[in-house]
Amino acid sequence: MTEQQRAGASGDVSLAGLSKHYGDFTAVRPMDLTIPAGSFFALLGASGCGKTTTLRMIAGLEQPSTGSVSIGDRDVTGLPPYKRPVNTVFQNYALFPHLSVADNVGFGLRRRGVKDTRKQVQDMLDLVELGHLAKRKPTQLSGGQQQRVAVARALINTPQVLLLDEPLGALDLKLRRQMQLELKRIQTDVGITFVHVTHDQEEAMTMADTIAVMNGGRIEQLGSPVELYEAPRTTFVANFLGQSNLVEAKVTGRADGDLLLDAQGNRLALPAARSAADGDHLVMGIRPEKITITYAADAKIADNRNRLDGGVIVDAAFIGVSTQYVVRMPWGQEFTVFEQNMERDPRLVPGATVILHWNPTHGFGLESGDLTAGIAEASEDAA
């Protein structure tokens, strides 16, 4: 075990030119990716984006069409699953129905010739707080308990990498939140690399150190949750991870490290460092909660703020901590604005004319493209 732990310390997962085709269909485009040892890494994307295929290629359950998978210094591309130092927590758990909880958890150890597994199994079950259910059959457990058995069954083998395929997909919302924190705690405790596949952006953001957002078999963007949220680099990421207001803009000049933009006749500023676009045309984005909404008549707005005039509130939804406004801009586009419920202006009701304004450093610039990319995927998964 000590040998394995030492190997685990340098156990980066490296994918080099990894791809997968099924006939004419490309599930995963050639991908280079290094997952640092000990990190909690999430592959995030809508169904069919190639994230599960990527995970299965790391597990050895799927043979790549091209490229290689290495764990630490070892190329495992040609190895069958049972010879790889990885374990998987399967979607819907895949617990063995004919074995008790304890036998499920001890399965991997026994296959590797460990004689007396009882102590280790009991310790592992205690870690996931299921020690008292060791003798039950999986079908006698609740969904959350089954999920923890699946995690215990994989973790007991102290793999270099633990792969999690939508492990919380079958749980209800409340239990899912609880298990997210639980999994994060376990990962911190054991220090094993976790690679987590999910379609739930909140789940990925809650748990992962690093997220790779996948779309159409490619990684759209890789980064920490904060980076991805605050500085998305593609319209897909901007829309899929949280919500964004996106507007086409033309670069009209540069000053003090800022890009000066013309968006539908409005002059806006954007720090050049926050733009992922090179050309004269870009897409300017701003998150709904970064916008301040002000009743048009008493606008006293600082000069250094970006402002858009002439919006009309078409919908205001009070949801407790905040109010969500939908504002129709003069050029027909609808902006979403989240406002904290601190000093609510009673005049901000549907029909009111408002000014939207924000600190320019909160905006981000994207390469021109489909403004709605990622919206359908995000709402499909929420459903």
Binding site: Y82, N87, A94, R111, A154
Partner: protein
């Protein structure tokens, strides 16, 4: 049964409440659904059983008629005289069941996991023999195993018949009219009854369990031993029962493929009923056969301990 039990409990609960509820409708539905099956069983199973039981305890002869004399000795005489046939019945049936399992398991496994889009076609092929009469199919084996046929020629050349002769299954380099022929016929005729329940059971196994076993360091062979096979046990149990029970009572294979030395219990019963016309002995033999099968099946199910089966 349990449906009726729940229903009964439900009505009592309703009666306890003081509020006068409208009379619950549809209480008769479970009984109505049970009625055709129940009627069938009474007319074609329960009544014949009673008649047969009474016949087995009668004495007399065809010309003078029979009287119920509670003559239990018929049972002992029948058993004493025909126990070799009973032993042969169960021996041949067991051998055929084992052969069905050996042939049928890989077949069912291949159809369930490897056949892909050809699954349906394979299943049709498995049941295709049913489109022809049982008798015709058995008679065809007479030709297949004929003394001067290719099969026997090849078996002789391979000295296979020496091995089977040593085991007492064949004689004089021929297969027809030997125990081997009867066992082959039984195996052939009951193979679908083994394959279909096995297939149904294997097909229900979640393929992700195989992946999970592989992921947990089990080689394909270990995966089969520790996951696939244990999960297919209910199919093995129902397949062996569906093969063994009818095979023990069969007389067609022994009659057409065997010799007087390979007679099974079914042949004796047939002879007693239809040729010797000794009805009491025939009825007693039928009861003995039934009883022995029930005992063996009960012991087997107890041993296999499959709560999933029932």
């Amino acid at each position: 049964m349990s449906a009726l039990g729940t229903l009964g409990a439900g009505t009592t609960g309703g009666a306890d409440t003081k509020v006068t509820e409208p009379k619950r409708r549809g209480r008769w539905v479970p009984y109505a659904l049970l009625a055709p099956g129940l009627l069938w069983l009474v007319v074609f199973f329960a009544i014949p059983m009673v008649v047969q039981g009474s016949t087995s305890l009668q004495t007399g002869n065809l010309t003078k008629g029979y009287d119920l004399t509670w003559h239990w000795a018929t049972y002992w005489d029948a058993l004493d005289q025909y126990y070799p046939q009973f032993l042969r019945s169960f021996g041949y049936a067991a051998a055929a069941t084992v052969m069905c399992l050996v042939i049928g398991y890989p077949l069912a496994y291949a159809i369930a996991f490897k056949a892909g889009k050809w699954r349906g076609m394979w299943l049709v092929l498995v049941i295709a023999p049913f489109f022809t009469s049982f008798l015709v199919r058995t008679l065809a084996w007479k030709t297949i195993l004929a003394d001067n046929g290719i099969v026997v020629d090849v078996l002789n050349k391979l000295h296979f018949t020496n091995v089977t002769a040593f085991l007492g299954l064949t004689q004089d380099d021929r297969v027809l009219a030997t125990p081997l022929a009867v066992i082959c016929g039984l195996t052939y005729n009951f193979l679908p009854f083994m394959v279909l329940p096995l297939y149904a059971c294997l097909e229900r196994i979640d393929p992700r369990l195989h992946e999970a076993a592989g992921d947990l360091y089990a080689s394909p062979r270990t995966t089969f031993a520790k996951v696939t096979f244990p999960l297919s046990l209910p199919g093995v149990v129902s397949g062996t029962l569906l093969t063994f029970i009818p095979a023990s009572g069969d007389y067609v294979n022994a009659q057409w493929l065997g010799s007087p030395d390979t007679g099974m219990a079914g042949n004796v019963i047939q002879t007693q009923f239809l040729r010797v016309l000794d009805y009491p002995t025939a009825a007693a033999l039928s009861f003995i056969l039934m009883l022995l099968i029930v005992l063996m099946v009960t012991a087997y199910i107890r041993k296999a301990g499959t709560e999933d089966l029932v």
